[in-house]
Subunit: 84 residues, 2 copies
């Protein structure tokens, strides 16, 4: 993995935990000393390793929030879980 | 990249677009023919390549929505834009 530094400025929420103890988390993270950004990704137990994920700017988080509230409703939920 | 198939079941939203034309998108994607999951990631123009991202179950999306509505407010926004 590339050489970089990060600092978890704020642990916002753990969305889920896998059987192996990896957690999917929303945090506020500073990368290489830059301004913190929202960060949604998987982490190994004790945050010893990070999995893939995405960083989100304030604007992207605001848009995501709007989208989730407006568009991700029972229709999508039904579509995503109809075979369960 | 690993050998896998995917199908974009539903394009939900484009959260942003970079100067190089990569878009950060929320979609509903079926991986290897399995039930569709929410998917938040970067895509190259015309979706010719996919960047890193996260998949989210219904439960994770619901929790994320709750978190964004309850916890990600002006306090976080101010923190994310004013600190080093």
């Amino acid at each position: 993995m590339a050489d970089f530094k990060y600092e978890i400025i704020q642990s916002i929420s753990v969305l889920s935990e896998s059987e192996k103890g990896w957690t999917k988390e929303l945090n506020l993270i500073s990368w290489n000393g830059r301004d913190p950004k929202y960060d949604l990704r998987d982490w190994a137990p004790n945050r010893e390793r990070m999995g893939k994920g995405v960083t989100l700017s304030n604007e992207e988080v605001e848009k995501l929030k709007t989208i989730l509230n407006e568009k991700v409703n029972q229709t999508f939920a039904a579509s995503a879980s109809s075979k369960e």
